[in-house]
Assembly symmetry: C2
Homo-oligomer: 236 residues x 2
């Protein structure tokens, strides 16, 4: 298309090209502490510009897929997984994001559940990184990851997003671990529990999680709806 050989006047005439990228988050036990921490997959660029650097998964928007479909495809192609949560993050359209052409990137962010299969899906050109140890990325992708983290933490504080890191049934302590991993703080177990118990979307099941070392905790279920952005709004 418009490679490094395109001169200035050619670039000025070319329509800004449109790409979709996705910031994918998952929880994974830390090697050191064993407690859950936040990870995200990156792909290595195999072409100029920024050849060899890590970057967010993404690509051009095809003409027959919607924006969230394109983001889901990114996710499927890099992790082999379906998103348990997907939300539009932002449209980045600065003039000099790419040195070779004007690119407008519509970025989504997603949560996936930490199945072992997911994390096994690594290769030479796909690798998971700790969210607090992301290397220097191609383009403006470091700023994008930072903003995605900001939004994730924000959504967590209000919203109903934590449960999408977990399976259908979970203990209240697991929810607390999600908060502690994402917000990077320790929370008082008793007070946190009281807050969750007062939200009506979290309902007790009769079940208990067996096999732990100590008193078996009760299992809960989340019954709320996820989103309030236009992509998710109408889904009943």
């Amino acid at each position: 298309m418009y490679g490094t050989s395109a001169n200035v006047s050619e670039r000025a005439k070319a329509a800004p090209s449109l790409a979709i990228s996705t910031v994918i988050f998952a929880l994974r036990p830390s090697e050191s502490s064993g407690r859950p921490t936040l990870w995200l997959p990156l792909v290595r660029r195999i072409r100029e510009p920024y050849k060899g650097l890590w970057a967010l998964p993404g690509g051009p928007l095809t003409h027959t897929e919607s924006l969230p479909d394109a983001a889901s495809r990114n996710l499927q192609e890099t992790t082999g997984l379906a998103p348990s949560y997907l939300e539009q993050l932002y449209a980045f359209g600065g003039l000099h994001r790419s040195p070779t052409q004007r690119v407008v990137s519509i970025v989504y962010w997603a949560l996936v559940q930490p199945t072992e299969a997911a994390l096994a899906d690594e290769s030479e050109n796909v690798r998971w990184f700790r969210a607090d140890k992301v290397p220097d990325l191609a383009f403006d992708h470091n700023a994008i990851v930072e903003y995605a983290l900001f939004r994730l933490r924000n959504k967590l504080a209000y919203g109903s997003v934590a449960y999408h890191f977990l399976g259908e049934y979970f203990t209240l302590a697991q929810v607390r671990e999600v908060y502690e991993a994402v917000l990077d703080t320790r929370l008082d177990p008793a007070n946190f529990r009281r807050q969750l118990k007062s939200t009506p979307e979290i309902v007790e099941t009769g079940e208990y999680l067996q096999g732990g070392k100590h008193r078996p905790p009760r299992l809960y279920r989340f019954t709320g709806r996820p989103g309030l952005d236009p992509d998710n709004r109408s889904t009943p």
Copy 2:
């Protein structure tokens, strides 16, 4: 371009085109009650599709302007004003938003201050409408306006957005009127005042607003920074 004559295979090959639109909000005294209410300007479409219908101001993205610059230009061209607040709303990219071609619209929302000049800037093809009485619009613009309203109300509840409807100096009652207009509720003056007084970004000036019918209220000033999205983040 790709008009109604383009056949299916031509459309499938064409890159999705990229447009910028802007939802512009301003407060204006209601004709009936005289209290401030929320208004927005729309432009009449002079071409197919949806010729004759009202639509959001917007147009294609030119190659030399950033996304917020394009939104500001929309605003300038329709209202003659500069935005006192501008934030990206959402990128709408559904497959069938326009009957003639695939269009991805990056939509901004803006607040402007209710100068008389602004509202005088009407014409045959530009008219202001009450936000709760928007007619049937072209494309998916009704849904976009609805979502912009949702975001405005949301931002108001947390954020620091109300002051951008007002001038540099304002009374606490004026801030309350902004909240009452946007949220469409009545708020207790004493309690609302107590909350505002406890936020450190709102500082007293020595001045009082003279010329009113009753006890002259103290004037305040807002010293906070507006935004937390990538466009506004870095501005110090």
